[in-house]
C-alpha cells in the first residue's frame, strides 16, 4: 500500500507553501488549537462581519496534514456565511472519517484532497484540528482547543 493517496501533491504544496499564513490585524476573533500528542499548534484568526467570514488566516507549526488542512480550509472559507462554514465542516468531517456525505452537503471542492485521510485513523485529528479551532474562534471562545 502506498502513502501517495494521503500525501497528494496538493497537500504537499500547501504544506510547503501555506496560504493565508500569518496574523490577521483586522481579526474580530481568534482561537488556539493544540494537539498534545504530536505537538501541533495552530492559531486561527477570523474577521467576521455580520453573518460573513470576510477574512481568515492562521499561523502555527505542525505536520503536513494539519498544516495543509489549515491552508486549504482558509482558502475555502473566505467569504462564506456561518451556515456555509458549518455545512462544509460537517461534510469535511464525514470525508476524513470515511463516512457518507450528509444529505444536501455542499460540494467540497479542493477540500476533497483530504479523502485519503480516512484510511489513516491516527491522522484524522491532524486534519480536523484547525476546523475545531475555527469553531472556537467563531463561537468567540478564546479558550485553547485541544484534540485530547
Amino acid at each position: 500500500m502506498s502513502t501517495d493517496d494521503l500525501y497528494q501533491e496538493v497537500i504537499l504544496d500547501h504544506y510547503r507553501a501555506p496560504r493565508n499564513f500569518g496574523a490577521l490585524p483586522s481579526a474580530t476573533a481568534h482561537a488556539e488549537g493544540h494537539n498534545p500528542l504530536c505537538g501541533d499548534r495552530v492559531t486561527v484568526y477570523v474577521q467576521v462581519e455580520g453573518d460573513q467570514v470576510r477574512a481568515i488566516r492562521f499561523e502555527g507549526s505542525g505536520c503536513a496534514i494539519s498544516t495543509a488542512s489549515a491552508s486549504v480550509m482558509t482558502d475555502a472559507l473566505s467569504g462564506r456565511s456561518r451556515a456555509e462554514v458549518q455545512a462544509l465542516f460537517a461534510a469535511f468531517h464525514a470525508l476524513v472519517r470515511g463516512e457518507p456525505q450528509p444529505a444536501g452537503a455542499p460540494p467540497l471542492g479542493k477540500l476533497a484532497v483530504f479523502s485519503g485521510v480516512s484510511d489513516y485513523p491516527t491522522r484524522v485529528k491532524c486534519a480536523v484540528l484547525v476546523w475545531h479551532t475555527l469553531q472556537a474562534a467563531l463561537a468567540g471562545d478564546q479558550q485553547a482547543v485541544t484534540t485530547e
Binding site: 500500500m1 502513502t3 505537538g39 491522522r123
Partner: protein, 422 residues
C-alpha cells in the same frame, strides 16, 4: 529456568553465542506482515514484545495454579504463593538485590516513583526544601515530584543538559545542598538514549547524605544491573519494557528507608492485624503491596528475567551496542537526517529528524512500510523544549532487532524524503 531461550546450550554449560534468528523465533508477534511488509518493530522503548516463554508461563499459571496468594490454606493457594514469591526472588537477584524484602511489586515505573514521592517524599520534604531532577526526565519522573513540591511548598531544581543530551553533572553537584531532600534521575533517557553516570550521581548525593531514586525503566532492558553495588536508595523498572507483561513493575528500596516509610495504600495483605482501634502493618515487602497483586504479571515477569538470564545481559548489551552504532552511522551519513541525542554513552535509542518533514508524517510513511517507530515528544516535553523542537521520530532497539531491520528503516527514511521531495 527456561531452556532453549533463544540460545542453544554451549559446551560445559557456557552460553552459546548470541543468535538473533533463534531469539526471533521466540517472539511470535514479530512474524507478521503489516501493510503488506514484514513487521519491523522499532518501538521498544514504548514497550517490548513478549517471548513465548513469558506467554506460556502466564497461560500455565492460569490453567494450572490460579489462586489467591498469602491467604489460602489450600494446595493451589500455596502453589500460587510459591510461584509469586519465587518470581520475586529471581527478579530481585536479576537486578542485584539480595533481600526480597527490598523488592516491591508495583504497576510500573510510574507507580514506583509515585510511591516514593508520596510515602518518602511527603515525610521528608517540607517548606523551603528542594527536590532535584534532570532536564531529560520522562513525565513520570517529573510530575510526581512537582505535585509533592507544590503540596509541601518545596521547589524542584532541574539539572541542565547539553545540546548532545548529556546531563551537566558539575551543575548537578553545585545544586546539591542541605535543602536537597531527594534526587530523582533517569538511568537511561527514553527520548535520547543517554546513559547517565549514575555512580557519580549517587556518590555525590550520598556525600551530602541525600537519597537517590533512579528511574531504570529504559536501563533494565539494555544493561546488566547490580543495584546493591550501584548503591542507589530507590530504583524503579517497568516489566513491559523488559519483555514481561504490562501492569507489573518493581520498586527497589533500601530496607532501612522502606522500614521507616509509612504505607502507600491501605488494604488486605499489607497488614498483620486490624482492629478498629489499631492496625499493625505487615513486614516488608508486603507493607507496600496492598490488595491482591498482579500475580500472573509477576509470574510473567519472572519468566522474562529467566529468559534474559538464559541469553545473558552482556550478550544482549553487546548485540544492541552493535545495532546502535550501525544505526547511528547510517543515520549520521544520510543527507538531511539529523540524529537527536548524541551523548557518547547511549543505549537503545535513535531519535531523529528529517529536514522539512514533521515526525508524525515520518511515522505514518514508515508505518505503511511495516516499520513501527514512535513520533512525538515521548512523554518528555521538557526535552523537546530544551532542544527547541516540537517532536522527534524515535526508533528504539531490542534484543531481537537486526541490522537488516535498520537497513529497512533507512530505506523507509529515503521513501519519506522521496514523498516530500526533500
Amino acid at each position: 529456568m527456561n531452556k532453549g531461550a533463544g540460545v542453544r546450550p554451549g559446551a560445559h554449560g557456557s552460553p552459546a553465542p548470541f543468535d538473533v534468528e533463534a531469539v526471533r523465533r521466540d517472539f511470535p508477534v514479530l512474524h507478521q506482515q503489516v501493510h503488506g511488509h514484514p513487521l519491523v518493530y522499532l518501538d521498544n522503548a514504548a514497550t517490548t514484545q513478549k517471548p513465548r516463554q513469558v506467554l506460556e508461563a502466564i497461560d500455565q499459571y492460569y490453567r494450572t495454579t490460579n489462586s489467591n496468594i498469602h491467604r489460602g490454606v489450600h494446595h493451589l493457594s500455596q502453589k500460587a504463593t510459591d510461584a509469586y514469591e519465587g518470581a520475586r526472588g529471581r527478579i530481585a537477584k536479576f537486578l542485584g538485590i539480595t533481600s526480597s524484602a527490598e523488592a516491591i511489586f508495583v504497576r510500573g515505573a510510574t507507580e514506583g516513583i509515585n510511591l516514593v514521592a508520596s510515602s518518602y517524599g511527603r515525610h521528608h520534604v517540607g517548606p523551603g526544601d528542594e527536590v532535584i531532577i534532570s532536564a531529560m526526565e520522562h513525565h513520570s519522573n517529573i510530575v510526581p515530584w512537582q505535585m509533592l513540591c507544590s503540596e509541601r511548598k518545596a521547589s524542584l531544581r532541574v539539572v541542565p543538559m547539553s545540546d548532545e543530551g548529556e546531563a551537566d553533572l558539575d551543575a548537578y553537584e553545585e545544586l546539591l545542598s542541605a535543602r536537597t531532600k531527594i534526587v530523582a534521575f533517569s538511568h537511561v533517557s527514553n527520548a535520547l538514549g543517554t546513559i547517565n553516570d549514575v555512580k557519580r550521581i549517587v556518590g555525590a548525593a550520598h556525600d551530602h547524605g541525600i537519597p537517590v531514586l533512579l528511574d531504570g525503566a529504559q536501563a533494565a532492558p539494555h544493561l546488566p544491573l547490580d543495584l546493591e553495588a550501584l548503591g542507589c536508595d530507590f530504583y524503579v523498572i517497568s516489566g513491559h519494557k523488559l519483555y514481561g507483561p504490562t501492569g507489573i513493575g518493581l520498586l527497589y528500596g533500601r530496607e532501612e528507608l522502606l522500614e521507616a516509610m509509612p504505607p502507600y495504600q491501605g488494604g488486605g495483605d499489607m497488614i498483620k492485624s486490624v482492629t478498629f482501634d489499631v492496625t499493625t502493618y505487615n513486614d516488608l515487602p508486603h507493607k507496600f503491596e496492598a490488595g491482591t497483586p498482579d500475580i500472573a504479571g509477576v509470574i510473567g515477569l519472572g519468566a522474562a528475567v529467566d529468559y534474559l538470564q538464559g541469553i545473558g545481559m552482556e550478550a544482549i548489551g553487546a548485540h544492541e551496542a552493535k545495532l546502535l552504532s550501525y544505526g547511528t552511522r547510517a543515520l549520521q551519513q544520510e543527507p538531511r537526517v539529523r540524529l537527536i541525542g548524541t551523548a557518547p554513552n547511549k543505549a537503545g535509542v535513535l531519535s531523529f529528524l528529517v529536514e522539512g518533514v514533521h515526525p508524525h508524517d515520518i511515522g505514518t510513511i514508515l508505518d505503511r512500510q511495516g516499520i513501527a517507530i514512535r513520533a512525538g515528544h515521548h512523554c518528555a516535553q521538557p526535552v523537546m523544549d530544551r532542544l527547541g523542537i516540537p517532536a522527534t521520530a524515535r526508533a528504539s532497539l531490542a534484543l531481537y532487532n537486526t541490522t537488516a531491520e535498520l537497513d529497512a528503516l533507512l530505506q523507509g527514511i529515503r521513501k519519506v524524503k522521496e514523498v516530500f521531495g526533500t
